[in-house]
């Protein structure tokens, strides 16, 4: 324990106690389970890993998951920006309720979100029965997966963008307009540029969240192998078949993807901020 403590004088008490509690918890609850996955992957070996992950069904599940997450993220990027802007800049009746509604998907358990979306989009649902005569089906299709992912991750996009809008100076926008910039120029040059790092963070978080989303998706997805089966569900199916190595292979891929994305978001955000600072 003392080897971990660095030279800085420890005047305040409680170091060993808080370190002990933290390490014990992290080992039992985070590190040990993670090592379980690595251990299982290690037993599998690279050849078997590639064989499992390159199977048609796994590739299809990954394709469905990633493509749906990408579209959901795009939707959240656009509407997240609009919502963050409206909530930060405008004062109007009902704003408080709108602000609370943004957090609803975060507070709502994902299984509840899942059956709620089914209730709305299946053929007897309020939206579903409007779309059916038009030949549009959302429930039990790829589009349903997109909606479910967009639902659960919208708070992440909005709440990541909001603080950046608060820091913008409305005077700069006014100045740009006075100098003769038109609406589009002002949007791209004065507004979007300083907001870009936080928008990227927001959509990045929302993408990572969508990749792993399970509860909200499986109810509305239809779960047809090759078509509407997401990677998380495939892991669960392999588990039910007691095929732990295959489950671990898909899980390891999903986890690696999320981690790479998180690191990329972090690096990109730092670079962008540094770039924007030097540009003045």
């Amino acid at each position: 324990m003392t080897a971990l403590a660095r030279p800085q004088p420890r005047i305040l008490p409680g170091f060993s106690l808080s370190l002990g509690i933290t390490l014990l918890f992290l080992c039992l609850i985070v590190l040990l389970p993670l090592s379980g996955l690595l251990w299982q992957l290690g037993k599998l070996g690279p050849g078997d890993y590639i064989r499992v992950v390159s199977s048609e069904r796994v590739l299809a599940a990954l394709r469905v998951t990633i493509s749906a997450a990408a579209l959901a993220t795009l939707i959240n990027g656009v509407f997240g920006l609009i919502l963050a802007w409206v909530l930060t800049r405008y004062r109007f009746p009902g704003r408080g309720i709108m602000d609370a509604l943004v957090d609803l998907p975060f507070a709502l358990p994902t299984a509840v979100a899942g059956i709620a979306l089914v209730a709305l989009y299946d053929r007897s649902g309020w939206v579903g029965q409007l779309l059916e005569p038009l030949g549009i089906q959302i429930a039990y299709t790829w589009w349903g997966i997109v909606i479910a992912m967009a639902f659960t991750s919208i708070p992440f996009a909005v709440r990541a963008i909001q603080p950046a809008i608060e820091e913008l100076d409305p005077a700069e926008e006014a100045a740009a307009l006075t100098l003769g910039a038109n609406g589009r120029e002002m949007f791209f040059r004065v507004l979007l540029r300083p907001l870009l790092p936080s928008i990227l963070t927001g959509v990045g978080l929302s993408f990572v969240r969508s990749l792993g989303e399970f509860g909200a998706v499986i109810f509305i997805a239809g779960n047809m192998p090759y078509e509407t089966e997401i990677a998380s569900l495939l892991i669960l199916i392999r588990l039910d078949e007691f095929d732990y190595p295959a489950a671990a292979a898909v899980a390891g891929t999903l986890l690696a993807l999320s981690l790479v994305l998180l690191v990329a978001i972090n690096v990109m955000q730092n670079r962008l901020q540094a770039y924007l600072r030097t540009e003045g």
């Binding site: 403590a5 305040l12 918890f25 409206v86 399970f214």
Partner: protein, 267 residues
């Protein structure tokens, strides 16, 4: 200029995407009348699921409060080797798919995992029961308390704590009289989030619960079970209970935001 259009767009998006699905739950739950709704809520399996969910949350929340406070204190007040790694590890559950999280627990604590196999001769089983549910819930909720307290500790600095130390207070007295009042709002906020998430977790719990009817089904799992049994009223009635919990969470959050010190908004 663009204000009315943007507000209308925002309202339409939130209305269709967020509000309507939740209203639809209540519509379906009461589709067969209030009598059927009440009968569904009083279903013995549903009642057992509610009980299990509450018991698991009551175990998870205090443990995570202790961990969250300890971890935040450690990271805010001391510089040591591996501090950044520690922070990443605590945040990791946010980035992980709940199914992957559940699988990790099964692989190590399950009957075929090293720890599970070692404990089996002693008759100790960690997965497919309350212990398993508590373990994965601890995992998925572990960042909440720490994340709420850490910024507060970083902002307040350690001057007051050092002053108390100079005046002869011991560690426990410093914690009770100096640290606790400072972090109480963040602690309350983190507790609310932990509670809500612990009760609502679905993916990770479904991997390790064993899904024994009336015994290891938490409320979210019971909803799925009834839904797959074509018991729509039962599933949606149970869902209204959890939706109610979500509303309580939002109201508590709002109240804490309003009356507590200014804080950054993040989900």
């Amino acid at each position: 200029m663009a204000k009315p259009i943007l507000i209308a767009l925002a309202l339409a998006f939130l209305g269709v995407m967020v509000l309507m699905p939740v209203v639809a739950i209540f519509d379906r739950a009461f589709a067969d009348g209030a009598g059927a709704y009440l009968a569904a809520i009083r279903d013995p399996e549903t009642v057992a699921a509610i009980r299990l969910t509450v018991i698991a949350a009551l175990i998870v929340v205090p443990i995570n409060i202790v961990f969250g406070v300890a971890a935040a204190w450690l990271v805010a007040r001391y510089r040591f080797w591996g501090r950044r790694v520690l922070l990443i590890l605590i945040e990791l559950p946010f980035a992980m798919s709940p199914i992957v999280a559940g699988l990790c627990f099964l692989l190590i604590y399950g009957a075929y995992g090293p720890v599970g196999a070692a404990l089996e001769p002693y008759g100790i089983q960690l997965m497919f029961n309350l212990i398993g549910i508590v373990l994965v819930s601890l995992f998925v909720t572990c960042p909440f308390v720490m994340r709420e307290i850490l910024p507060v500790l970083q902002v307040t600095g350690e001057d007051e704590e050092r002053a108390a130390l100079t005046l002869g207070a011991n560690g426990w007295q410093i914690f009770r009289h100096v640290v606790l009042p400072n972090i109480s709002w963040g602690l309350a906020y983190g507790t609310v989030l932990t509670m809500a998430r612990a009760m609502g977790e679905f993916g990770a719990v479904s991997v390790v619960s064993g899904a024994i009817r009336g015994r290891t089904m938490t409320l979210p799992l019971q909803i799925e079970l009834m839904y797959n049994d074509y018991n729509a009223t039962g599933a949606f009635a149970a869902a209204t209970v959890l939706a109610g919990l979500a509303f309580v969470t939002l109201i508590l959050r709002g109240a804490l935001n309003r009356f507590g010190p200014q804080r950054e908004a993040h989900p």
